[in-house]
Subunit: 353 residues, 2 copies
Amino acid sequence: MSSQEPSRRATISDVAREAGVSTSTASIVFSGKAKVSDGTRDRVLAAASHLGYAGPDPRAASLRRGRSGIVAVVFEGHLRHAFLDPVTTAMMDGLADGLAELSSGILLMRDDGGDGLALASAPVDAYVLIGWSGRTRESVRVVRGRGLPVVVIEGDPGDPGIPRVTLDNADASAALARHLHDLGHRDIAIVTLSLGSQRQRGPVTPERIAEATIGVTVDRLEGTRRVFPDAPAVSAAGSLIDEGLVVGRELLADPGGRPTAILAQSDLLAVGVIRAAEELGLRVPEDISVAGFDGIAVDGLGERALTTVVQPAVEKGRVAGEQIARMLAGEPGETQDLTCVVRVGDTTGPPSR
Amino acid sequence: MSSQEPSRRATISDVAREAGVSTSTASIVFSGKAKVSDGTRDRVLAAASHLGYAGPDPRAASLRRGRSGIVAVVFEGHLRHAFLDPVTTAMMDGLADGLAELSSGILLMRDDGGDGLALASAPVDAYVLIGWSGRTRESVRVVRGRGLPVVVIEGDPGDPGIPRVTLDNADASAALARHLHDLGHRDIAIVTLSLGSQRQRGPVTPERIAEATIGVTVDRLEGTRRVFPDAPAVSAAGSLIDEGLVVGRELLADPGGRPTAILAQSDLLAVGVIRAAEELGLRVPEDISVAGFDGIAVDGLGERALTTVVQPAVEKGRVAGEQIARMLAGEPGETQDLTCVVRVGDTTGPPSR
DNA sequence: TTGTAGGCGTTATCAG
DNA sequence: CTGATAACGCCTACAA
């Protein structure tokens, strides 16, 4: 009775024994890291299938190698919420590409503001932090301790040593505003994204700006106001078509005080604004110009071409992935500043008055 | 010079030595699995922070424990594509909840139709397969070998031993169709989801049904046709508002042959159809009734309430997570059949003729 | 091309 | 409450 108990799963050394080779040889057969004679390989493979061995245990392999092949992507708040945004989705795609060579997958994690215990105890090789709010700094602190590569996308790591991937939100917003100014607009309104995690809808006051925690919103607003310093702004409760619709209605309600153009801080908001205008019988762009931000194909726009700022969303993820790859290879990571481009569509034109 | 090289990261035994305790005691301090005197704990923690030790290495811990705390969610095709669908997003949320106690995160993986090597070599504790197409069976085969828990959501595992989470797509579609029939409709058209992974738009013929690989589409169609056996159907190239718009235009183009109601297989498609109707100056539901499927809050619908079938999307994920938890606890997993509910909104009414 | 040996960093078990 | 010991399953120099 020299056979193994059937209850235990076979290990590579069981396979090696059964095949009459050493464990190292069997290991090589599975990793392909070196040459093995055909006969030997066949015997090992036969033994494996005989014993129901499905290949090396990834847990053991990752301990031995010091790598798990997993990269964590950390979001603040609900996943559902993150993925509602087409920009995030595009970015994830880019990230998956940028990491493709390197990793077997992306570990979705939530930084729920707890003690970060879960964050720190996952068997990952690196972290990508997606941060809009102020919590990023705390996450960075937790994660730094592990000594693993970290990249922050659109957030403030609060530590200059950590590479970031950033967008020129303010400059791009200013460029778009200039386009409207060049067309002759002098009286515009702004629909902003949320200023803080409470996601309140309403007029944007200096006090609210001072308290804002979402950098993207503030930066884009600042850029637009470089060109239109006195433009009124209203914050939406999220980047949603229906939010744009609600805020758009408010802004367009009074025929007298109506602006000649509305600049929304996301394409989804812009689509909502356009819909609000259409509801009121206003033609876009003849009666009112509307522009967005993001440049992601928005479902629900039909064949209109929105004037917008195209941000390199997929690129953002890809670049982050590349930095991770570099750092894992021992080179230092570098902050990457990406730039956006204004794309003029058919939703902006000269003002009607 | 008995001190460690500073280049190596401290391990738990370094910490134990520095604190003057055994490694087992130090381990307990970090795991909290047993009582430790305050004094001892303080000394260990002090030593840890002194040495820059950030807690047990998750790789080693997962080897020792036999658990990594990671659950893989396997999609077919591009991630971007999967997350475009609000139903998927909701489901992921439910899954995250269902697994919350158990796991530190969700590993997003793509079954790219390769040899499944990546699939099998990730350090995960269980797999959730999201499958619409026929490839699920192959993924199941690969994954089975590992001897880990597997749950299939909306797909055919091709193995009765594998627990599934299913929806009563056909029955629910029939129930919705009956609602229309009761209202008096006799002449309806169907907008289906894709029939296969090629995502072709066009009339649905018996041949195409025979070749279809996406079960959801076929089931919903079959259910609707129980009530309206001769209803013409057109497949959309995806679950998108703009697809519904395109197909809706086609179906409504000819004022003569216009149906009195259109049943779309997703809410997004239904929104597109409604938009197509509005474009043509048709009122919903006075001139034409439109219904969808899914019951997820669709962005871009404004305050209309779509008549639809509400599927338990979040529940689907939660239930899958619970089954995984059970199986990980050694109990057998069970297939869960979830049911949908018709929700009548304001987009359906009696036919105009 | 194949085998030998040692350790990756933890934690479960059991004895004190 | 604390300590000694033995795996967990694999990989990779290095030697043959």
